[in-house]
């Protein structure tokens, strides 16, 4: 009988370091399992965004290793990028393209078959409520609409690992719910989602596991109950988070 090797983790970070004027990420170790919804929390300047920008190849680390679904992201960035998608808190899209054209452009960059990509694009535009605006140029879109276009672009190539930096900032309740529904659907379909957020209620409700970063290092990780144990404090995620950060500062 053949023994099956366990599937690789979605993300495995070891000894990651990055310094600007001061260390931003300081020997970070982090593992995110395949198929989970992982929320990364931390105070401002904790190193969350820097970490994620190194994972997606926007920044080069000073030291450490990054493995994405078993692919060494530093040695073979193109292969790692093929299975990842990144959405920043400031959605950057092209004002002079329509959402439909934007998705076609992204599909071209990721080399997705046109027929498959078009079908996915139509589905995504439908789920995100963008069908009425699919052929309008993005220049007049609100921040929420731009964020949804960026999200559709990130999902059109069906990435196995979706990394989002504060994706819900500035969205109205309806748009936020649409985005959350799409992300849940992706996790149900087997993708992994890593999301930073300052909206702790979202992390509490959506995440399978939560990681807390402070001073460029992971100070706690686990489910909400596990975090409560580590913090030695019961209550909401907000109470737990503040206790963990305060403990670390002390």
């Amino acid at each position: 009988m053949l023994s099956r090797s366990p599937p690789p983790d979605a993300l495995e970070i070891r000894g990651l370091r990055k310094a600007f004027d001061r260390p931003a990420v300081d020997g970070l170790d982090l593992t995110v399992r395949a198929g989970e919804f992982y929320s990364l929390l931390g105070p401002n300047g904790a190193g969350k965004t820097t970490t994620l920008r190194m994972v997606v190849g926007l920044l080069r680390p000073d030291a450490g290793s990054i493995s994405v679904l078993g692919i060494d992201a530093l040695a073979d960035p193109v292969a790692a990028k093929q299975v990842m998608a990144w959405i920043s808190d400031e959605p950057m899209i092209y004002d002079k393209l329509t959402p439909f054209e934007y998705l076609e452009f992204v599909a071209g960059l990721w080399g997705v078959e046109p027929l498959i990509a078009e079908a996915r694009a139509r589905d995504l535009l439908g789920w995100l409520g963008l069908v009425p605006h699919a052929h309008e140029r993005c220049e007049g879109f609100s921040k929420g609409m731009r964020q949804k276009v960026a999200l559709a672009g990130a999902l059109v190539h069906e990435p196995a690992l979706i990394i989002l930096d504060e994706p819900l900032t500035g969205l109205d309740a309806g748009s936020a719910r649409q985005v959350k529904n799409v992300l849940r659907e992706r996790v149900s379909a087997g993708s992994t989602v890593i999301m930073t957020t300052h909206i702790l209620e979202v992390a509490e409700r959506m995440a399978d596991r939560i990681g807390v970063i402070a001073g460029g290092r992971l100070i706690a990780q686990g489910s909400l109950d596990e975090l409560r144990l580590q913090a030695g404090k019961s209550g909401t995620l907000e109470d737990t988070f503040l206790a963990l950060v305060a403990n670390e500062a002390a």
């Binding site: 998608a85 998705l103 960059l109 990721w110 046109p114 220049e139």
Partner: protein, 514 residues
């Protein structure tokens, strides 16, 4: 704080912003004020020397000039006035559409009409101050050599600045009412650029066609123009007489300028606020619908990138107009070359350097848009595509446009001389590649809408691009003429490129990473 005090405070705020913009323009956005001061002093000394060479010989002109003198001075004033009006129109359009502080201003408990009255006045003063700085060396040189009566010219510059701003405000608001907020943005910016260029280029073209020279003075001093001009007693010469030190003319000119500005402030400041609100709201309106959306097509990443660049450029007429404007200034020298050497095929050979120069300039602008003006850098960098392929695709996008623009000229040239056409094609390619390479070495992420600021973001890149283009143009021109002297500017262009590469930030950062 009383309302008057608040308005005074707002005026100071506007003055401070204008000053900082000015310092940034002179010294770059990251430089310190001390650097700005040094650069201003160097600039002023250089300008005084230039002024001495240009106008020193006119210092002896007295208060009782002949008609030719009046025509020349008035023509020069008119030229400057159009340039001021162009700058003012640009400032007014920015005030309409740049929303950085409008939310704050419009939500403050001050009447919008008064706030915008201050803003219009500030725009006028900013335009006037810039004109004063540029005119000061010429006026000073004339005053030192010819006497203090020339200092009256400062008053004329002031009157021209405020009247240019007044007309710019009225014209922009007129456009706004006529064609609406969406189109005004584009049209006003194009009109501003064309007004600035058209008068200079128009005079040069007339001078070339009529007198075979690039000098604008040749037109103004010509018998035809002098004969057409009004008599010396006409009010049309008051500005010129004011420049020459006639106190009554000066008082009338300054009063007229101020009256124009005051009238515009009184009539338009309330509407200015209204229009600013409309302009602020245009981005919320529905965007244009595509006629026939096609389905997704099979494309390689490189093809997707090239197509994206071309689509973005095609859909932004303002960018197209700004890019082509650089080429517009090459029309007069091309015309001069054509006219001066129109015996046989010589003129066609002389078009070679003009085309090469134009290719370098055009490629520089396009390369900036494709490389530094990438609006979604995160998306492109996180795509599973090697960085070298992204770079190559963008270079191909730039060279593709250059090819489309210049192939017709090269083909036309080939009918006269295959050799000249081959030299021209190589020159166009090398000049475009050099300009693109410089943009790659000096890339700095920026918004596409900041296209016009690209020349102040890196002066080294701007000068390197210009000198390399001039070098390649001279090389191609001399080579087409069949002289081995072509090697000299060629070597100079290579040295410019080598020096630019040596001091480029991309090389320094690559060394740091190593």
């Amino acid at each position: 704080m009383s309302e008057t005090a608040t308005l005074a405070w707002f005026a100071r705020h506007e003055a401070r912003l204008a000053w900082r913009d000015w310092v940034a323009m002179i010294a770059g956005r990251r430089r310190r004020q001390r650097t700005a001061a040094v650069l201003v002093i160097v600039f002023l000394v250089g300008m005084h020397l230039l002024a001495l060479a240009m106008v020193g010989r006119f210092a002896d002109l007295g208060p009782d000039p002949d008609k030719v003198t009046l025509v020349v001075i008035t023509g020069s004033l008119l030229l400057s006035w159009f340039l001021m009006m162009s700058q003012a129109m640009e400032s007014v359009t920015r005030a309409f559409y740049a929303r950085a502080d409008l939310d704050l201003i419009l939500s403050s408990p001050i009447e919008a009409r008064k706030v915008f009255a201050v803003r219009i006045a500030a725009t006028a003063l900013s335009v006037t101050a810039m004109a004063m700085v540029l005119a000061a060396p010429f006026i000073n040189v004339l005053a030192i050599r010819g006497g203090p009566h020339w200092l009256d010219a400062y008053g004329v510059v002031f009157a021209m600045g405020v009247s240019a701003a007044a007309v710019a405000v009225a014209a922009t608001i007129g456009l706004f009412r006529l064609i609406g907020p969406k189109r005004t943005r584009l049209i006003a910016q194009i009109v501003a650029a064309v007004i600035g260029a058209a008068f200079v280029i128009g005079l040069q073209i007339v001078a070339i066609l009529s007198y075979g020279t690039l000098s604008r003075l040749a037109v103004l001093e010509s018998d035809d123009v002098v004969a057409l001009a009004p008599d010396v007693g006409s009010v049309a010469w008051w500005p010129a007489r004011a420049v020459l030190g006639d106190p009554l003319a000066l008082a009338i000119v300054v009063a007229a300028g101020l009256a124009a500005l005051l009238a515009v402030i009184l009539i338009f400041s309330a509407r200015f606020g209204e229009h600013v609100l409309h302009a602020a709201g245009i981005s919320q309106g529905p965007a244009r619908q595509r006629a026939k959306p096609h389905g997704f097509r099979r494309r390689s990443p490189a093809s997707a990138l090239r197509r994206k660049e071309w689509t973005l450029l095609r859909r932004d007429p303002w960018l197209v107009s700004q890019t082509l404007m650089q080429v517009l200034y090459l029309v007069p020298p091309a015309l001069l070359l054509w006219r001066s050497f129109s015996n046989g095929t010589g003129a066609l050979f002389l078009l070679v350097p003009v085309l090469v120069m134009a290719a370098g300039q055009l490629a520089g602008g396009l390369a900036w848009l494709a490389i530094s003006g990438e609006d979604a850098p995160d998306l492109v960098i996180t795509a599973p595509v090697p960085a070298s392929l992204i770079q190559r695709a963008k270079i191909e996008a730039v060279l593709g446009v250059i090819a489309i623009a210049f192939v017709p000229f090269v083909v036309a040239l080939a009918f006269v001389s295959i050799f000249a056409a081959a030299v021209c094609a190589c020159g166009v390619l090398i000049a475009a590649a050099s300009a693109t390479a410089i943009q790659l070495w000096f890339r700095a992420q920026a918004k596409r809408s900041h296209f016009r600021r690209r020349q102040t973001s890196s002066r080294i890149a701007t000068f390197a691009e210009a000198f390399a283009s001039i070098g390649w143009a001279a090389t191609a021109g001399l080579l087409a003429a069949g002289t081995s002297l072509a090697a000299i500017p060629g070597v100079m262009a290579i040295l410019v490129l080598a020096l630019a590469r040596l001091i480029s930030p991309s090389r320094r950062s690559a060394e740091r990473m190593a």
